[in-house]
Symmetry: C2
Subunit: 394 residues, 2 copies
């Protein structure tokens, strides 16, 4: 007797490579012991939250005897939380934002779902540059949109403007830019995003309705060697940022994120009302209350990005020593090297024989590569050196 809807049953069969590696990893750890396995499969930040997060939680716990301390609040989040974040983002983006341009959401994932629900008519298209974060497709599909991808340039993963232009149609409603990028570690330059903005402006004019530029930026704080992550809100009137505190404050489990609209967007009040409405009707109801308090307590603080940089350098050394072909990540905490031999699934299986967990590029719409997440202790990276070498030469 079929209990599941056809759509969900089918999606589950296709599955997620990240999930599959996660499960393979559990089996491998049970067989060989937790410490024998070098697990680079998941983007779950291992650094504890900045200590100011714990201070914020202690302070909050002293106020719980008040009525409504953990009660409902407006569907877009507390106004004090929206205001604090507006101030913070005004500085970050170089554009004056108010609470009216900010909605707090159940993580950036919740934010993207709220946005797509609010802006997509059935059949509207959302574009992402591949390789891409695998959940974008489901988020768009949830709201009857059509998800399409545009390849980035081979080797550099930079934006291929001609291909992007070719992919834009009269039904394109949004383009997602994920920078610093998961899985490639690429950061799009100011010049690149300015050209994209100009292209979207022209195509919006032709289509007679705006194409949104959606900046998914959970890794903004992780840009190495002084690389700039150009702010998009001042650059394009229909830009929307989807952000979260999952990575910079190491609290992905509490599900606190946001959407921020450009203060130059005509009609943004109506859009914001729609986003708040969708936060309610999609069953999020409101962003988690504790997360809002922790966010305000820690706003402007973050985990030590220097630790991630050291790990990046260590992993680069391991990969270079073994002979892998890879692009040095400019940001985020992933490497996306070429799979020796070209078959990413076969190569990831080979890595598993050496007790190393990675994710095939196929899981990001980009076969022939594999992803290594280095949000793990540096010792694990060094320990993987031998296995990485053996897998390369076997």
């Amino acid at each position: 007797m079929a209990l599941l809807s056809t759509c969900v049953a089918n999606s589950m069969t296709k599955g997620s490579w990240i999930r599959r590696m996660f499960e393979a990893g559990i089996a491998l750890k049970q067989e060989h012991g937790e410490n024998a396995v070098c697990d680079f499969s998941l983007g779950n930040p291992d650094l504890p939250p900045p200590s100011i997060v714990a201070d914020g939680m202690r302070k909050l716990s002293d106020t719980l005897d008040r009525p409504f301390s953990l009660g409902y609040m407006p569907n877009g989040g507390y106004s004090w939380a929206r205001e604090a974040l507006a101030d913070h983002l005004s500085r970050e983006q170089g554009l004056a934002l108010t609470a009216g341009e900010i909605i707090l959401t159940c993580g950036a994932a919740g934010g993207l779902n709220v946005l797509f629900k609010a802006i997509l008519d059935p059949g509207d298209e959302v574009l992402a540059l591949s390789p891409y974060f695998v959940e974008y497709g489901t988020y768009v599909g949830n709201h009857n949109g059509i998800f399409r991808t545009v390849p980035t340039a081979t080797d550099t993963f930079s934006i291929d403007l001609d291909k992007l232009e070719g992919a834009l149609t009269g039904r394109t409603r949004a383009l997602i830019l994920n920078s610093p990028n998961n899985p490639t570690g690429q950061i799009y330059s100011r010049e690149e995003v300015s050209t994209v903005a100009a292209l979207l402006k022209e195509k919006s004019r032709i289509a007679g309705r705006p194409i949104f530029l959606v900046a998914d930026e959970p890794y903004r704080f992780l840009a190495y060697d002084g690389a700039e992550v150009p702010p998009l809100l001042p650059l394009y009137d229909f830009a929307v940022i989807a952000g979260s505190f999952s990575k910079n404050m190491s609290m992905p489990g509490e599900r606190i994120g946001y959407l921020a609209l450009s203060a130059n967007m005509p009609g943004r009040d109506a859009l914001m009302n729609g986003l708040i409405f969708c936060n309610r009707i999609l069953g999020y109801v409101n962003p988690p209350v504790v997360g809002q308090h922790l966010m305000r307590a820690a706003l402007g603080c973050q985990v030590d990005a220097g630790i991630y940089k050291k790990r990046r350098d260590a992993m680069a050394e391991v990969l270079s020593a073994a002979g892998y072909n890879f692009l040095m990540p400019k940001g985020a905490f992933y490497f996306f090297p070429k799979a020796p031999g070209g078959d990413d699934v076969a190569f990831v299986n080979k890595l598993m024989q050496h007790l190393i967990l990675a994710v095939p590029g196929s899981g990001f719409g980009c076969p022939g590569h594999f992803r290594l997440a280095y949000c793990v202790d540096e010792a694990i990276i060094h320990r993987a050196a031998d296995g990485m070498k053996k897998a390369f030469f076997s």
Copy 2:
């Protein structure tokens, strides 16, 4: 330039009566002062969380210096949280449940969305008894289902079996039972739900696929005068409970709820995998981590239901003294009296002239009544006595 999808723009125009009253209330309070207005419009519990919730939060704050303290966990929630809740619900339901029958969700609202995404094919129908909680319709619509309502018996709001039977079709996929009921305060008896279960079993057999019985039970702990809220999981193989800790622990803002499947459901493992998958892809990703800790710390505790009972009795006195026609609520924290004159919207406007906020029954698919939420200080109920009388006679 239209920024919103047609569907969302249309839904927003219809709006929510609760929301409209909320906004009217803000204006009224600004004009007359916060304390002059008797606000019975919102079901936002005013009792502080049980003190054990604060203890749980303090303990958690001492562990945040550990890696992954607020990290991602499996999409269905921590296994310790699912196990603790399975133990608790086994006692409550009188049926042995394991973690495999439990998923933690972003509130009961998140749970219902996850369930509908998992089980509804486009065009599948979901039934609710009217009057009903107004969000059910949007939750079903989010996942391309069709929402239909069946009236309960006039005056008693008990289940009208003939009408229910007439409303069941070959496309019916689920029936929602909300008991204790928002807005009526009615509790369906063991006899009533047993008859419904038998009917659904027979109709499932004819349709060739199971019709789910969805018990939305956030008010289970609030049953007065020894009334029984009969457990549904042992009664029907395809029963699903949607529950939360929003009301019994006064923490609706933290968004922690759950779905529990009957341990007698054939194929429940596949369904549970689908629910966990939907928790992920709908952008909830996982239930808020802090909420899971608070839930475990406080499981089995609750706010003092005796306070709500005193308020119920006070409101009953106010209504009786003025001459209103109403059913004494058996549970939850709402009254649903008849609107004098029959026009609920006109009468609610009249109440507003006396600085009393209520919600028209039209907002619950049941014109001719109005809802009063008594999760407010008892003094406010007494203070409303005069206005309730004047509105009745004007």
